[in-house]
Subunit: 519 residues, 2 copies
């Protein structure tokens, strides 16, 4: 069967079950086609005064009664410094547990160590927002038994609530926790800020284990994850490498190209009709993306604009803007540095939110649906405004879906910033190698050579032209770039589906085939 | 069929379905007999940027598409000052909606106006923790079509999660809210403190309406109820009578009898083996009950004891003890006066909790299961330590189940304080008229004439005797009191079941028959 973007989608995949084709940004979710209701949560009656403390991570995992075919879930708030997941997989492997489904909210450079467990068949399924590095390479080569499923952050919540992902064991790393499992990432030696991705695992997993290297006196405040969802608590020597968890103040890029693109994007926002008091805003932490915040900050001060809220992956740059009064609040599902943790802990206007509240397409008040402006990056874009943030120039998996499609669908203005070429490779394609975010939800693509406005927004194009922005037709821009770079050779791909890209509503928006030139 | 207390329980009741008999404090809940899983929550996908604001309460109710046989739920945080429920019922009645199930977390003196709607058959079922005043009288006379169901606070959460109560429309009064439905009771002219009972309605009701008289700029902080559960928001002139919502600083009783009982109870606690650093404590707001806190406070200071946490209905007296450092934290599911609202808002150690966290028997970390000491009141007790807090001396419904059975089941020491007689009526019976809390979960009954210890706790009895406490056999005490008061005449009762008393696990612990001498 073909989906709304013309991609051939298998009706059924062994080990994953039936698939549904992508039908457009809002069609499936509003019809309730994909999931009309949630699965029940697990009841866990306990007698009074039973201790949850375990002697070791191994003890905690044993108590969860692990079995072949189980699903293990975790969050990725520790980012590149995560030291919990690899410990747990090694323990499960030592116990002889096989055929594991791994359902992390994302996977990072800290998880290259998963490679041998995939090659041995111990891990056979992966659900994740992101897959990178060597892990992405071997999955791209087809070494994971069943295709990996790439979901958005909001899509993961829906996946769990609808029963697509059924966590048997959730391992929730916390930088502070108490004996009952009240847990937070807002303080402690390994502080990582918001614990927003962990909430859905805590509510739906059969067994929930809080893992901490900082057991504090009861009660742990703030209780980002609450005790009545937690079965066991265990202390470990370290939940990770603090230097890679809290990477320090996020700096604005010094790349002239990124700064130029960011300046243009800020001008686009200024003349979009949305640049006024009460504006809400999300920006990523990447180069040109975060740099837009720098220019927007200057523009807001100059024009005396006060925004409503910022959301998303929160940087200390965003915290500065909150403290300057440029925004009234930050809603924080994921924090990016140590300064942010302090703000989560101490500033009542810095509101920790669950990923359900951030971006779940199936509730009636996700933050992404209230968003005015989002600025997003891209690995590739195409003439239909589709965006690829997951596969690289060889077709290999090397990125993350994240909140890209969630925010693009909800924001009044979704701006993609990218250079028109990287190295000698053009960024604008006839069709991106992999669609993560459909063009229907992308309004503007900003490059250093011109600004492309989605033809569905003629009024926006007119307003930008009137303001002197260099608005160009995306097909013309593509030709211009191609004439400089040449058209790159076709990617070398096989016929095997190695990953599915799930749209936020649970339908399949694209498939990723194996690459043959990596070995 | 007979339950574990020998009460004849019908297997089926028209309009309510099958019943299960009470089997003991822990038996049913740990076996998962009553509800082995939860019902799914409702998915509510919405397009982006849709306004939730309604023109009027009538408009909001219309948007919920009300129908005959629907269930309307609400919380009782506004206590005797509630002005929302009666407005809503009048609107539904004007629309001609019939056969309504009313599922309030409790009902108070503010709800006497429900009487004509029950008599007219517009309201046919009631689930509530408490029923009082004229409302209790007419239900006791059998004027509600189907028996009322009295649940505990924790039991209500289980009732909703297991689908026993299925709210179609939840009306959630808030003293401050924003346009997206983020809502709180912690500030505003009608501040009422914690909004703990509302969470479960927000998560499970088909349509959730936040009703406020204080619409604040987005975002409302703290977001006690969060926007992604809220369908509609409406402002009304007033959510209630602020003078009855926030009744001012709770005063300690000046009754010499209550003070005497309280002093004895504090001595019992002091010598229970639990009076030490890290002790946790709940006390009610009633006369002798709150007075125990006064003596405990003095004892803690004298012996330099620092407790861990207080829970429950929170009074400003409890807040004083938190601020003095006598306890490290308060977990607040329900607040009793204005001073408490300020503390909820400003003190991070004053933690607002949901009723799920407070007392749900089906999760793995309810606060009641971590409680050391609870002090509870009683309308009647019996020689088997069963406690009645729901029916009065004529057998009429006039009280509330509240957290009585929840805390008694979880606490290491449950202390019931009551005078040995009231007026000319003895309080200790051979069998209480209605069992709300089973004797199995009651450890000590403290009266002014002596302290009765449950025979299941011989070590406690020995420790108290050693400390000089006047420990007496409850049957001896009953005889002594009966000899003074005489044995009162039998209550005049009919054969019709007018209410069911649900134990916290969902089984039926007792039935209430109609009274014939009230009219």
């Amino acid at each position: 069967m073909k989906n709304a973007l013309g991609v051939e989608i298998p009706e059924y995949i062994d080990g994953l079950g039936e698939l549904q084709p992508y039908q457009g940004v809002w069609n499936s979710v509003l019809k309730g086609d994909v999931a009309s209701q949630t699965v029940p949560t697990v009841l866990k009656a306990q007698k009074a005064h039973v201790s949850k403390m375990c002697d070791s991570l191994e003890d905690a995992i044993k108590k969860s009664q692990p079995f072949d075919g189980m699903t293990v879930s975790c969050h990725h708030h520790l980012r590149g410094g995560d030291g919990v997941l690899m410990q747990a997989i090694a323990i499960l492997d030592k116990m002889g547990i096989k055929d594991i489904t791994l359902a992390s909210s994302s996977l990072t450079s800290a998880h290259d160590g998963l490679v041998p467990y995939i090659e041995s068949g111990m891990i056979t399924r992966i659900f994740s927002s992101g897959i990178r590095g060597r892990l992405g390479e071997i999955i791209s080569m087809g070494k994971l038994k069943h295709p990996a499923v790439i979901h958005s952050h909001g899509g993961r919540v829906r996946d769990i609530m609808s029963g697509r992902i059924k966590p048997d064991l959730a391992l929730l790393a916390a930088s502070a926790a108490d004996e009952e499992g009240n847990a937070t990432g807002a303080h402690g030696p390994s502080a990582f800020g918001s614990m927003g991705y962990a909430d859905i695992d805590a509510r739906y997993a059969k067994t929930v284990v809080v893992v901490t290297d900082n057991l504090v006196e009861y009660p742990c405040v703030p209780p980002s994850v609450r005790q009545h969802f937690v079965d066991y608590v265990v202390t470990v020597d370290s939940i990770g490498d603090a230097s890679k968890i809290a990477s320090g103040t996020t700096r604005i890029t010094s790349s002239p190209m990124d700064l130029r693109i960011a300046r243009i994007a800020a001008t686009v926002i200024e003349h979009s009709g949305l640049f006024k008091n009460g504006m809400s805003f999300q920006v990523g932490a990447g180069g040109a993306s975060l740099a837009v915040a720098k220019f927007l900050r200057e523009d807001m001060k100059r024009k005396n604009i006060q925004g409503s809220f910022m959301i998303g992956g929160v940087t200390s740059y965003g915290v500065d803007m909150l403290e300057e009064g440029l925004f009234k609040a930050i809603f924080d599902v994921q924090s990016f540095d140590a300064a942010v943790s302090t703000s989560v802990l101490n500033n009542p206007q810095h509101i920790e939110i669950t990923c359900d509240q951030y971006a779940n397409p199936n509730n009636c008040g996700a933050m992404t649906n209230k968003l005015d402006v989002v600025v997003l990056g891209a690995l590739e874009v195409d003439v239909d405004f589709n965006v690829n943030v997951i596969t690289g120039s060889s077709g290999e998996i090397r990125g993350a879906s994240g909140g890209h499609s969630d925010t693009a669908s909800g924001a009044n203005l979704s701006v993609v910033v990218c250079p028109s070429f990287r190295g000698r490779l053009p960024i604008i394609m006839d069709r991106v190698h992999t669609v993560v975010t459909p063009g229907e939800s992308v309004d503007v693509i900003v490059t250093e050579r011109g600004v492309c406005v989605n033809p569905s927004k003629p009024n926006l194009a007119a307003a930008l032209k009137k303001a002197g922005v260099n608005v160009v037709d995306i097909r013309d821009l593509k030709k211009e770039v191609d004439s400089m770079t040449g058209i790159p050779a076709e990617k070398k791909l096989g016929d095997k589906i190695v990953a599915l890209v799930e749209y936020r509503d649970g339908t399949i928006i694209d498939v990723i085939k194996n690459v043959t030139n990596l070995e």
